[in-house]
Amino acid sequence: MTTMTERKLTTQKAIAEAIAQEMERDETVFVLGEDIGVYGGIFGATEGLLDRFGPERIMDTPISETGFIGAAVGAAVNGMRPIAELMFVDFFGVCMDQIYNNMAKIHYFSGGNIKVPMVLMTAVGGGYSDAGQHSQTLWGTFAHLPGMKVVVPSNAYDAKGLMISAIRDDNPVLYMFHKGVLGLGWMTNNPRATGVVPEEAYTVPIGEASVAREGSDVTVVTVGLSMHRALDAAERLDADGISAEVIDLRSLVPLDREAILESVRKTHRLLVVDEDYRSYGMTGEVITTAVEGAFDYLDAPPARIAIPDVPIPYSRVLEQYVMPDSDKIVAGVKTLLAG
């Protein structure tokens, strides 16, 4: 359905383009959040949009997350399709009621009569020494609570397609972009943050994982920046004659359980990599999914690499110690294969 051109964009520009195209197409789409106007969004998700669409549709807000996210809910049930930006996901604690109890539940409470077509986009992730209140991913927290879809693009192509899908979806969609996959000029250079992105609008379906790299010896399941780490690891493992299949979940809700199972049934081994906290989160869910659906295929207990249940520390050495990286993934795969 998409014409692939060779145009390359960073993930950040792909997001901004997706929003712009949808705003052109649909008058009811608008964006609100802190520093999304003249600043263009702290992570550039709304870069250039104020100039193009003006302050009525690109609305800077006070630091009132409960107020403006709740207002987005109210606008969504009254004919608009708002995109609200929560600057860092770490700030969810000041506005979670509007997100999980209101945005995510109105449709259900109303027996399906009321729709809440909105996108809540937010920056996630660490690795650049921003400490424990600005470095979390927290997707497990949201994915645990019913009523909102949760998507996490890891590359420019998916970022654009998932954003367009999210905007067109009649449900609330939490769109979590990892700072490390955006290709921002002021972050550590990451070649995987730039990719081919068609100029025209296209969608990437919400709820479908993708096989980012095929392999036969082990399945590595992850999401976000850890995808890049996993792909790096897979290349290194390849040199050692180990063939790793890398699955990008892309959506945590709905979770593409079939994609996980299909791969595990092929490779018989599973490593889950997560930049969220280890316990009670994504790693447990993916492993349990594999156990429920492919128990007899497993040649070894599935393993996981995640933040070891500590707040994200500031100091580089400490933070690197707790973050998943390709060294840890390589080691994890080798241990798994030895087991």
């Binding site: 009811t28 608008f30 009525e56 807000t61 006070p62 009132s64 409960t66 107020g67 403006f68 996210i69 709740g70 207002a71 987005a72 809910v73 109210g74 606008a75 969504a76 049930v77 009254n78 004919g79 608009m80 708002p82 009621d97 509007q98 109890n101 209101n102 109105i106 449709h107 259900y108 409470f109 109303s110 027996g111 399906g112 009569n113 009321i114 729709k115 019913p146 009523g147 879809k149 009649d170 449900n171």
Partner: protein, 328 residues
């Protein structure tokens, strides 16, 4: 009072309807629960927050509304929902948890939603306030001349969402009317133990919007103040804050022993029951005859009885329908 007679009669009629609805729900609520009260038992289980006594706030607002105007109400929503004209059968059926209910039994009495009339409520204190701001924002963006009314209790006025909502509405000059139902208590906590100043209406100045106190639980007083606020909002002149001193005649929820309010307090409150006093007044002032009153009462009772009968006779939802409607 230069209020059209039909509005006076409508307000009274709706008050009678609300009160009788609450009375019937109350009776049914206790029916299968006593003597050994079990909150999970009976035709209407769960928490039940009834609004007897607070009718004036609801009915004083309604005459100023137009189709499409949005209402967000609270955990104590029936009076506002009924005044707003929600389908009484579907509303009752929702309270009974039936398939025919507004939410097919998924929401219950704190979660009544309707598109036309445009109504929502919530079990979380002050949760509806930002939603009203958002509704008003949508109206402005869509070029509609609708307004949004946010009802909330005086207890809710100490929740952060109050502050953020009023600031946003004023900042963006939105058509919102914030209506504080001050029944002097948040469950057992009296206003003076929760609120650093006497009147929340005085907090309007923190947002540069008009703040008006309605000192009596009087539909006419509410009517007049809201008329102005709604007109202001509709004209594009921005939000207002109104605080109405009202009475919660019964417990916070049904089953509440209400031991935190003195007998004197309750007696005084019951003496000024707004349904009785407003009815008397309309008769005194020649707006209604005693026969009119009886006819209204009879008609409203019949309507409520019919709605409740509808709810009772309606089928339960299919159990597995619990899995529906998570996503559209």
């Amino acid at each position: 009072m230069e209020i059209p007679r039909e509005h006076l009669v409508d307000m009274y009629t709706t008050m009678v309807k609300i009160r009788y609805f609450e009375e019937r729900i109350r009776a049914i609520y206790f029916d299968d629960k006593l003597p050994a009260f079990d909150i999970a038992a009976g035709e209407v289980p769960g928490e039940m927050h009834l609004a007897a006594g607070q009718e004036p706030v609801a009915v004083g607002v309604k005459p100023h509304l137009r189709p499409g105007d949005a209402i967000t109400a609270t955990h104590r929503p029936h009076h506002v929902a009924i005044a707003q004209g929600l389908d009484l059968k579907k509303m009752a059926a929702e309270i009974f948890g039936k398939q025919t209910g507004l939410g097919q039994g998924k929401g219950g009495h704190m979660h009544l939603f309707s598109t036309e009339p445009n109504f929502g409520c919530s079990g979380i204190i002050a949760e509806g306030m930002p939603v009203a701001v958002g509704a008003a924002l949508a109206f402005k963006k869509l070029g509609k001349d609708n307004v949004a009314i946010s009802f909330f209790g005086e207890g809710a006025a100490n929740q952060g969402a109050f502050h953020e909502s009023l600031n946003l509405a004023a900042l963006w000059n939105l058509p919102v009317v914030f209506v504080c139902e001050d029944n002097a208590f948040a469950i057992s906590v009296p206003k003076e133990a929760s609120t650093a100043i006497a009147d929340n209406s005085d907090r309007a100045s923190a947002y540069g919007m008009p703040g008006v106190l309605v000192a009596d639980n009087d539909p006419v007083a509410v009517y007049e103040v809201v008329r102005e606020a709604v007109a202001r909002a509709r004209a594009g002149d921005g939000p207002s804050l109104i605080e109405v001193k009202t009475d919660r005649l019964w417990g916070h929820f049904e089953g509440d022993a209400d031991a935190y309010r003195s007998d004197e307090f309750k007696a005084t409150m019951n003496e000024r029951d707004p349904v009785t006093t407003f009815g008397d007044r309309l008769i005194d002032e020649g707006v209604l005859t005693a026969e009119d009153r009886d006819a209204i009462t009879e008609k409203m009772h019949a309507e409520v009885d019919e709605a409740i009968e509808f709810a009772r006779q309606s089928p339960e939802p299919a159990p597995e329908d619990a899995l529906l409607h998570v996503f559209a």
